[in-house]
């Protein structure tokens, strides 16, 4: 039996969940927190999103999704255009080619690998930005960004896990 129009629409909406959720998180990360006591830090939300979906459901966020996310990040953050898409594409490619490694692995392993991936991503981005602008990023800011990215993985992973349950139900 062929699925109806509404079923198609429902399937499409569910398939767009990963990218939509990631875009929303990226926008939320750009919102200024003017409350006292908040540190000025800049976690690599896009790397977290791309990493999670590449590990758990690579079919849900293709290279086009990663590229779009990176482009929006560059535009919002004022970084040179093309840097974030390149970093995200490399992250996605590395994880997708090593997909078999992650099958059935516990959370701690994926978290540990994220630590390595995020380190490579932040250094690559810093080098690309330095090459394009001639300005080196502050090592403290880079370290803060890296640490926050790694620390944010468990809560974001939980959120994406909920979204994944929705997707799996639909499948």
């Amino acid at each position: 039996m062929r699925p109806s129009f509404w079923q198609h629409l429902d399937l499409l909406a569910r398939r767009l969940i990963p990218v939509t959720l990631s875009l929303l998180l990226l926008l939320l990360a750009a919102v200024p927190l003017t409350a006292p006591g908040f540190l000025r830090a800049d976690p690599m939300i896009s790397v977290l999103c791309v990493y999670y979906w590449a590990v758990h459901r690579p079919d849900m966020m293709g290279y086009v999704g990663g590229f779009t996310l990176g482009l929006l990040e560059d535009i919002l953050m004022g970084t040179p255009m093309g840097v974030s898409p390149l970093v995200l594409l490399v992250v996605q490619w590395v994880i997708v080619t090593q997909y078999r490694f992650f099958v059935g692995k516990p959370f701690m392993v994926t978290w540990w690998v994220l630590g390595l991936v995020a380190l490579v991503a932040v250094l690559t981005k810093a080098m690309a930005v330095a090459l394009l602008t001639g300005h080196l990023a502050s090592p403290i800011a880079l370290a803060a960004s890296y640490a926050l990215t790694v620390l944010l993985y468990p809560p974001l992973g939980w959120l994406f896990g909920r979204a994944q349950v929705l997707l799996d139900k639909a499948a």
Partner: protein, 346 residues
């Protein structure tokens, strides 16, 4: 069954090939964008502006809950320090009253001197106040997105200030939103001078919270606590806007602590000098105002009108930029560390 399996593997192979092709194309696109951006082409700028413009309403909606949370947290914090802050404000008020008397005296004197010398009047700005809806964070670049665009009168290059001092200038202007390049961004260069010695320098962003002073001839005379204001050289920034104070001098590097805290900004004011810009109308005549301002008029200014008329009572803590002598300077509050009457011997 065998035929079906073969078909599936063919589909899988095509899918993999397509993915690889997409990957290569997208990587090449990323490199192309980097090269285009480096060449500073109009296409990249327009793309950036168009996307920022499209995202501005979403960011505005998202920023409102964040602003509400910040407001509640600020209220709680203020309540906790109410008594202490009250005592500080009383002391500060006494000090400011002394400054106000002095400022009025100097203003009247300036006015008389300007009349005597038939000095050409500086252009007065109009203000566009906009909400800050996005903050670039600060690892690789330092900028803000504000909800004022071309439809509100914003133009590329206009100066952005807050109640404390200079914030930066507009580098991208869309229809309804604009990007502000902060003084701390590595691409920011602002001509400034040391308020007391009048020595000129360039304030360079370093991607850290404290920018650096460069091209300063007499470094020996600089000491922590010296006030920095815009010099007006190059006509990008009007003269006399408060920027910050020298925070430290080490190994020939002079670091500046800005009056503004860009991560705490909720509202920003864009200075609009009209189509003539900061240079002003070349046909402008000499100063014609004769009467010194009435009580409470010293801080009239957010949205100050060129027409002399009784203005509203200024907000608490707002006075015209001190000691700049520039009527065009926007009224900004005097940052607390900068008030040092004892040092001036007044």
């Amino acid at each position: 069954m065998m035929q079906s399996n073969g078909q599936m593997s063919r589909v899988g192979a095509v899918k993999v090939a397509l993915q690889r092709f997409a990957f290569v194309v997208l990587v090449l696109s990323a490199f192309t964008l980097m090269l285009l951006g480096k060449a500073d082409t109009l296409v990249v700028d327009r793309m950036r502006t168009a996307v920022t413009d499209a995202m501005a309403p979403v960011l505005e909606v998202l920023s409102k809950p964040a602003a509400s949370v910040a407001s509640v947290m600020n209220t709680v914090r203020e309540l906790a320090h109410l008594r202490q802050e009250n005592a500080t404000l009383r002391d500060e008020n006494l000090s400011l009253l002394r400054w106000q008397a002095l400022a009025r005296q100097l203003q009247a004197e300036n006015q008389r001197l300007r009349e005597l010398t038939a000095m050409v009047k500086d252009p007065k700005p109009r203000f566009i106040t906009a909400r800050v809806v996005a903050d670039s964070g600060g690892v690789f670049a330092r900028s803000l997105i504000v909800t004022a665009g071309a439809q509100h009168g914003a133009r590329k290059g206009q100066v952005v200030v807050s109640a404390q001092g200079v914030v930066g200038r507009l580098t991208e202007v869309g229809h309804r939103a604009s990007r502000v390049l902060l003084l701390t961004d590595p691409n920011s260069r602002v001509p400034v001078l040391l308020e007391e010695s009048r020595a000129r320098a360039i304030l360079m962003g370093t991607n850290r919270d404290r920018p650096q002073l460069a091209f300063l001839k007499a470094k020996a005379g600089v000491s922590p606590g010296d006030r920095i204001v815009t010099s007006g050289i190059g006509r990008l920034f009007p003269p006399g806007l408060p920027v910050g104070v020298v925070s430290s001098v080490d190994d020939g590097h002079i670091w500046v602590e800005l009056f503004i805290e860009d991560s705490r900004l909720e509202l920003a004011r864009i200075l609009d000098y009209g189509p003539d810009g900061i240079v002003g109308d070349p046909n402008a005549g000499p100063v014609v105002e004769t009467a010194p301002p009435q009580d409470g008029a010293a801080g009239v200014a957010p949205g100050a009108d060129p027409d002399p008329r009784p203005g509203p009572t200024p907000e608490a803590g707002t006075v015209a930029a001190p000691d700049t002598g520039a009527e065009a300077s926007p009224p900004v509050s005097v940052p607390r560390p900068a008030i040092r009457p004892a040092r001036d011997g007044r």
